[in-house]
């Protein structure tokens, strides 16, 4: 079973979110990067862009497929991981750490509560993950 840190929240599209003060850091899960295989390109929004919960905010391309990245919450992008432009492999190497994608200031703090807990996400994966 893939690594699912207990202190994060998750989406059914395999993104994780971490609360950092009033902001939220977002990336894709260990399971997602395993399924994708070697990541070769990541396209992220610019700082200042608006993202909407459950809607695509970027694209991740692996040797197998191109997939949308879905925002866990609605808000404004305050940071985007510039390292991914030239080192997309860190998404595979460290999905919950250096492979983070964006930091968002949520428009509605309550959306955090609607995300899956680690236990719920683990159960979702156990059922097949889609």
């Amino acid at each position: 079973m893939s690594n699912v840190p207990g202190d994060l929240k998750y989406t059914r599209d395999h993104e994780w979110a971490r609360q950092e003060g009033g902001r939220m850091r977002v990336g894709i899960t260990a399971y997602a990067q395993e399924q994708l295989g070697d990541v070769v390109f990541v396209e992220l929004p610019k700082v200042g862009a608006r993202v909407t919960a459950k809607q695509a905010f970027g694209v991740v391309e692996s040797v197998k497929a191109v997939s949308d990245l879905f925002a866990p919450v609605t808000g404004e992008v305050v940071e985007a991981n510039a390292d991914l432009a030239h080192k997309p492999e860190i998404v595979n190497q460290d999905p919950y750490g250096k492979g983070w994608m964006i930091v968002v200031t949520p428009a509605d703090a309550k959306q955090w509560e609607q995300l899956l807990s680690a236990a719920q996400y683990e159960e979702f994966l156990a059922q097949g993950g889609h």
């Binding site: 399924q35 070697d38 070769v40 390109f41 391309e61 040797v63 497929a65 997309p88």
Partner: protein, 490 residues
């Protein structure tokens, strides 16, 4: 050049170059010669000569003959690439396409001088319309994806003509990637509809998304898991009840020729891949062709010009004020129209029905022989292709990619891998109707052998391919650090 035990003509043509060698010898010019440089302003002149290969005619012939021998195609091998319908391209198609009246006709020749070609286009459009149960067909799109774009643009024009503002198109998660791409290009927002556990459209999810702002639902029949959507007429009714149009991606038409028709199932638009179902060459063998068929209510929006018949003559009809416009240089890939026309006329209605029956039979034969050895993605029987999953093998450390590479060593092209996306470790096999039982058996034996190797000697599979001109390529590095140009010896 050092001898390294490799035939010299395997090298790049640049590496065969020798200064001053040339492949031509022109006679003395009988008109005054002007220095070319005098005609080119200083700022546009090269500082150094272009780095073109300098080779003899014989070098060129041997180099490209060698490359053609290294090529892998339907003319040399079994090619079960799922969703691509890599079937035999009958040589009689080539005979017809080379008839001087077709091959040497200039596309801008006057209509009066092009009657044979226009008649062929008119009749081909009519035959495709009959095959698909549509009312009108445009031959203009150059490939399936352009057919999709044309279809979606016609749907948009239709809604706009009715004064309706619709902004979304629904597409199942099992779709070919071209569907969302064409739809987005046509200015729509793409909404993904989930598949159920058997890979069919989840009707509940479809209904949830079918709001008043949905312009169309786009679906492949049979679907990309190789199964016929049993509720397809119900789906079409549901969409129509909400004012949405229904588009059929015709990529898998090879499964249903003469058995059922998209128009009869309730579809408003469908495209045809002439390079799949109708035996025109695929990829490097020639351009594609993706005609698009529509029901009568969409006919005013067809791309211009439409080949029309006026009593005994054929004309290009440009006076179509509601048309979405022209999509393609001249009138489409006409050489492909000749080939597809020839194919349909030589097969006849019974022949085309037999195509689909045998395509379905062959796919089921392969699925049945392999189901003990690989997981089947969706319960059979399948239509013209079957999707297996290498999830069992993956647990032993052998992925669908490894299996694909190993097949190359055993003399077969690999099936499509990792598609459809909703199947883990997918291997999508489309044998087509033109393969013999002996070929199918040989392929199945190879697949079974690999399944056994996965259990007993997975390391050997990780080494594959070992018999191809190049070994396993580092796809990841190639994508991360693309090296797109020959830079000469360093």
């Amino acid at each position: 050049m050092p001898y390294d035990n490799q035939p010299a003509y395997d090298r790049l043509v640049f590496e065969l170059s020798s200064p001053g060698r040339m492949a031509f010898s022109l006679p003395e010019s009988d008109v005054p010669v002007e220095p070319a440089l005098a005609a080119v302003p200083e700022k546009y002149r090269r500082r150094q000569p272009a780095a073109l290969p300098e080779v003899s005619e014989l070098d060129v012939v041997r180099h490209y003959s060698r490359l053609s021998q290294m090529n892998y195609g339907i003319d040399t091998h079994f090619y079960p690439l799922g969703s691509c319908t890599m079937k035999y391209n009958p040589r009689i198609n080539e005979d017809a396409a080379r008839l001087a009246g077709f091959a040497r006709l200039h596309p801008l020749a006057a209509e009066a001088l092009s009657q044979g070609a226009l008649q062929l286009m008119h009749e081909l459009a009519g035959m495709l319309a009959e095959i698909a149960g549509m009312d009108a067909v445009s031959l203009q799109p150059a490939a399936g994806a352009q057919g999709e774009l044309a279809g979606v643009l016609m749907i948009r024009a239709y809604h706009e003509a009715r004064g309706e503002k619709r902004t979304k198109v629904l597409i199942p998660d099992s779709a070919h990637g071209t569907n969302p791409a064409s739809t987005a290009l046509a200015g729509y927002e793409v909404i993904e509809v989930k598949s159920d556990a058997e890979g069919q459209v989840d009707l509940g999810d479809l209904e949830r998304h079918l709001a008043a702002d949905v312009a169309a639902f786009m679906i492949t029949v049979p679907n990309t898991l190789g199964n016929f959507e049993p509720r397809v007429t119900e789906i079409a009714e549901l969409c129509h009840a909400r004012g949405a149009q229904v588009y059929m991606d015709g990529a898998n038409l090879n499964a249903i020729l003469g058995l059922t028709r998209p128009g009869d199932l309730g579809f408003d638009v469908c495209h045809f891949n002439l390079h799949k179902t109708f035996t025109t060459p695929h990829g490097g063998g020639g351009p594609g062709a993706g005609p698009v068929g529509v029901k009568a209510h969409l006919e005013p929006f067809l791309p211009v010009p439409v080949v029309a018949r006026r009593e005994q003559t054929y004309v290009l009809d440009w006076k179509r004020p509601q048309s979405i416009g022209k999509l393609q240089a001249f009138w489409g890939n006409f050489g492909m129209h000749v080939r597809a026309y020839t194919y349909i006329r030589t097969m006849g209605a019974d022949g085309l029905r037999a195509v689909s029956e045998n395509a379905v039979l062959n796919a089921n034969y392969v699925m049945k022989r392999l189901e003990q050895h690989y997981d089947v993605a969706a319960p059979g029987p399948c239509m013209h292709e079957c999707v297996l999953s290498a999830r069992k093998q993956k647990k032993l450390g052998v992925t669908a990619m490894d299996i694909a590479k190993r097949l190359l060593d055993l003399g077969f092209y690999a099936p499509s891998t990792y598609f459809p996306l909703i199947v883990e470790e997918a291997l999508m096999i489309e044998p087509t109707e033109t393969e013999s039982k002996e070929t199918l058996d040989a392929f199945c034996e190879a697949m079974i052998r690999i399944a056994r190797e996965a259990e007993t000697a997975p390391e050997a599979i990780h080494q594959a391919p070992v018999t191809t001109p190049v070994r396993r390529l580092d796809q990841t590095r190639a994508a991360r650090e693309p090296n797109l140009r020959w830079r000469g010896q360093r």
